[in-house]
Symmetry: C2
Subunit: 195 residues, 2 copies
DNA sequence: CCGTAAGTTGACTATCGGTCCACTTTACGG
DNA sequence: CCGTAAAGTGGACCGATAGTCAACTTACGG
């Protein structure tokens, strides 16, 4: 899928990601400059851009990393996250897991969701969806459809995920209200998928 | 509440707001620079800042304007938006109206929801909520609580509003999927507030 | 070893939000 | 009317920051 990196490149890549995580624990993504990241990783700014292309690319990649465990859990792990449990249980487990991942990553997802297209050219495309978002959306959508094929599973999945894009909710999570959100989502799902 | 503006100031204020709306119809808020706004309104950049304080202030004020009609409708208008109808009907009518307002205003709300605190100082407060958001949140929260005092109305209201913060959903709205979203929200509310 | 492709770097550019202050316009009391 | 002070105006300027680039360094297969 991708050429292996040279030893120094791999080292720097890891250092940059680690430094970004580090900075992320103490600041909102919007306040972290690429220069800060480069400095914290002990590399030149150019290196950061060479590897990740852009600010969004870096955040994007970091998110990918953070989401990997969950991805594995739902595809090859045991129920209720993995296959085997009924859709409703899987959905509830998944939403709980997503809330947990997002809570641990503050505004990362939110920052990702907000990117402007490139140059000044009249590129007006809605911007490609983030792979992690796509994966999560597909999973929710599939589970909902399985149990309630009469609903608009696609839109419903977007609505559920919107939750973790919302700044007020992110703030609530930061205050430790993760379980409140969890219970609320549970109530919503239960309303839609009884039993 | 506020001193009346001088004639020229009022004229320019209106021109700036109108120019911003104009630009907003053809671009995402993030790509509109204050310089563009100033140019489009035929005023100096300084004037824009003098009147609105900041980029956020301008967007903020514009949103306020856009939300005014809805505000009036729910406080003094006829049912089902205004008082008189049962909570469920009022909530459904309100959500439909919100979707409609947001659909007509693209990412305005989304752009508002995303602001970083000020200077470099370690000001880490969660940032004050937008008045329009607060008003909408309070309204939803009250209606939910009236019918289902057992639920976490506060969090639930955040979840409903998160919907209009989400970029994928905003894109869907732009594609004319407003009624799909509307139906989906209706399903969610119905699941929670049956009858 | 050596050639070379990959990687590194920080000075440089472009852009943009926001500030500042000298200048202009308006409102209004006399 | 007119003089004046308060309000408003505008654009040069500043600091920050995402992203570029061309010269330089390094890893590594043969």
């Amino acid at each position: 899928m991708s050429e292996p990196l040279r030893a120094d490149a791999a080292r720097n890549r890891a250092a940059i990601l680690r430094a970004t995580e580090e900075l992320l624990t103490s600041s909102h993504p919007r306040q972290i400059s690429m220069e800060q990241v480069a400095a914290a990783a002990n590399v030149g700014k150019g290196t950061v851009f060479h590897r990740f292309g852009s600010r969004d690319g870096l955040l994007h990649e970091l998110m990918r990393e953070r989401a990997r465990d969950l991805e594995i859990a739902i595809t090859t792990g045991p129920p209720p996250l993995g296959e085997g449990a009924p859709p409703r249980a899987r959905l509830l487990a998944f939403l709980t897991a997503v809330v947990e991942v997002v809570a641990r990553n503050k505004g990362l997802l939110a920052a990702l969701g907000t990117g402007a297209p490139g140059a000044g050219a009249p590129k007006q495309e809605p911007r490609e969806e983030h792979p992690v978002y796509r994966s999560w959306h597909g999973h929710i959508s599939r589970l909902v459809h399985e149990r309630r094929p009469d609903l608009d599973a696609d839109m419903l999945a977007h609505v559920f995920l919107a939750t973790v894009h919302s700044e007020p909710i992110l703030n609530a999570l930061e205050r430790g209200d993760g379980d409140r959100l969890d219970r609320t989502l549970r109530d919503l799902v239960t309303g839609l998928m009884p039993e």
